[in-house]
């Protein structure tokens, strides 16, 4: 009988909604209560330093190339000892979509994501963060990594002095 099915289908939902009225609320009331973020949560970006306290960023432009919304811009320059760094580094957080592709592209683990996300602002110009605001004085999620020690370029230590690196070969020695 379809009419009984119809009547049952009209009455039953009332019982369900009545039951729901007395169940606990699932809403997390954000400013007072904060949820625990996932360990790999992608919040705002930071520029980290290596264990020696130097800037990790070598201004290779890979992050700005990887960025799908073009929110990262910088100017590369070189120090006296030949070490590259960014003269200025700028992230426009009103364009950033927090996808984390820049951190995947970064060869020196300089740019990293954090669990910080409260960046709402009334002035859009204040969502553009400069290098001084982005740069932190810790290593972020990679406490031991030092790009120059791995790459073996003679900036952090002399050539051949880095751990696990052979002495450079004097090609003229190999002459017969």
């Amino acid at each position: 009988m379809s009419i009984w099915r119809d009547i049952k289908g009209t009455i039953e939902p009332f019982w369900i909604t009545l039951r729901n009225m007395f169940r606990p609320v699932v809403t997390v009331e954000y400013p007072e209560v904060r949820t625990e973020l996932a360990p790999r949560y992608r919040g705002r970006l930071i520029l980290t330093r290596d264990p020696d306290g130097q800037e990790r960023c070598v201004a290779c432009y890979l992050c700005s190339a990887a960025c799908p919304v073009d929110c990262i811009s910088m100017q590369a320059t070189e120090a006296e000892d030949g070490r590259r760094y960014a003269a200025w580094f700028r992230i426009n957080f009103s364009r950033c979509i927090f996808c984390g592709l820049c951190t995947e592209a970064c060869p020196t683990m300089a740019i990293q994501v954090t669990g910080f996300f409260e960046m709402a602002n009334r002035n859009p110009l204040e969502t553009v963060w400069e290098k001084e605001e982005l740069l932190v004085d810790h290593c972020g999620q990679e406490p031991d990594y030092n790009f120059y020690h791995h790459a073996g370029i003679g900036v952090a230590a002399a050539r051949g002095e880095n751990p696990g690196e052979d002495k450079p070969v004097d090609v003229k020695d190999l002459m017969p």
Binding site: P13, F14, N20, V25, V26, T27
Partner: protein
């Protein structure tokens, strides 16, 4: 103080009190609805303004009053301005015939707790509920927008589908009470409320009342997800607010009508009459909100089908059966 002045003061005080209580109740009904709907969906509902969100209606009023009052260029200006008022006034006027308590004695005068005990109260209510559709239709037509017009047309066709069975559902009540006056109808329910005497008429009137209030499952004139906002798509600011308040006053009116016609009005044991009346009205309002949180919207043709092919024959049958029963009982 002369005699006539006391009477005049009492009348003015009563009117002011009813007006204030009705508008405040309408505002807080909006909050109650948002809270209850929230709880049904496992949300807390508005809770930011004041303790438990109790100042939310005030914040809403300030928001509506300070918004831009926008009139579309191609709109029929005078009708556009008139329509929201019409919707709110017809809703308010209906409360004039609702008796909300037994007569009380103040300063040696017997004060009936009803603005005006018309001897054709039932017809007054039916007439005004038909007039209420003018506010909606004129508003929808004057906006000169296709969504508004569609909402207005739907509202009109909805009206003619349910109003007939609504009126016919009241015929058994009038037959049982032998009066068109709402006070007499309540008096006739001193022993048993008419909802128990004639449950079929109660059910038909309940369904028609939900349709009359233009709420889910019969909210076709508004139908947010089909028609933007239906007949009030083009309205903004306090003009939209008037439509909104009118809808909730209408909800209270329909709640009190259900109470008066079927639930025994102010009759009840132990508690004073006004308290019983408020409890019943608020319970009906809660039921309407509960319905809104539960049922989906009917399709346009389903409403017509339901109104004309099911409700109307049922209510006609009910009139005949009640008449036959009354004749048989008389001997």
């Amino acid at each position: 103080m002369p005699e006539w002045m006391v009477i005049l003061l009492l009348i003015v005080a009563k009117l002011g009190l009813i007006f204030m209580v009705l508008l405040t109740l309408a505002a807080y009904l909006v909050l109650a609805e948002r809270k209850i709907l929230g709880r049904i969906q496992l949300r807390p509902g508005p809770n930011r303004v004041g303790p438990f969100g109790l100042m939310q209606p005030l914040a809403d009023v300030i928001k509506l009053l300070t918004k831009e009052d926008f009139i579309p260029t191609q709109a029929d200006k005078w009708l556009f301005l008139l329509a929201p008022g019409l919707a709110a006034v017809t809703a308010l006027l209906t409360f004039a015939v609702v008796p909300f308590g037994p007569p009380i004695t103040l300063f040696g005068h017997e004060v009936p707790l009803v603005v005006c005990d018309l001897n054709i109260g039932v017809l007054f209510f039916l007439g005004l509920s038909s007039l209420a559709v003018y506010g909606m239709t004129l508003g929808g037509w004057a906006s000169n927008s296709k969504y508004s017009l569609l909402g207005a047309i739907r509202g009109l066709s909805q009206l003619i589908s349910y109003e007939l069975s609504m009126g016919l559902a009241l015929v058994p009540v009038v037959m049982l009470a032998r009066s068109f006056s709402l006070t007499d109808i309540v008096m006739a329910q001193a022993d048993v409320p008419f909802a128990l005497v004639n449950p079929l008429a109660f059910l038909i009137f309940l369904i028609s009342a939900v349709a009359e209030s233009k709420r889910i499952p019969f909210d076709l004139p508004e139908a947010e997800n089909e028609l933007v906002g239906g007949f009030h798509t083009e309205y903004s600011g306090m003009r939209f607010g008037l439509f909104f308040v009118g809808e909730y006053i209408n909800l209270i009116i329909l709640g009190s009508m259900l109470t008066v016609f079927f639930l025994g009005g102010w009759m009840g044991p132990f508690l004073p009459g006004v308290v019983w009346f408020s409890i019943k009205v608020l319970f009906v309002c809660f039921f309407f909100i509960w319905v809104r949180g539960t049922l989906p919207r009917l399709r346009y043709d389903q409403l017509m089908h339901f109104g004309w092919k099911i409700l109307l024959p049922l209510s006609l049958l009910n009139v005949i059966l009640t008449g036959a029963f009354l004749l048989w009982r008389q001997g």
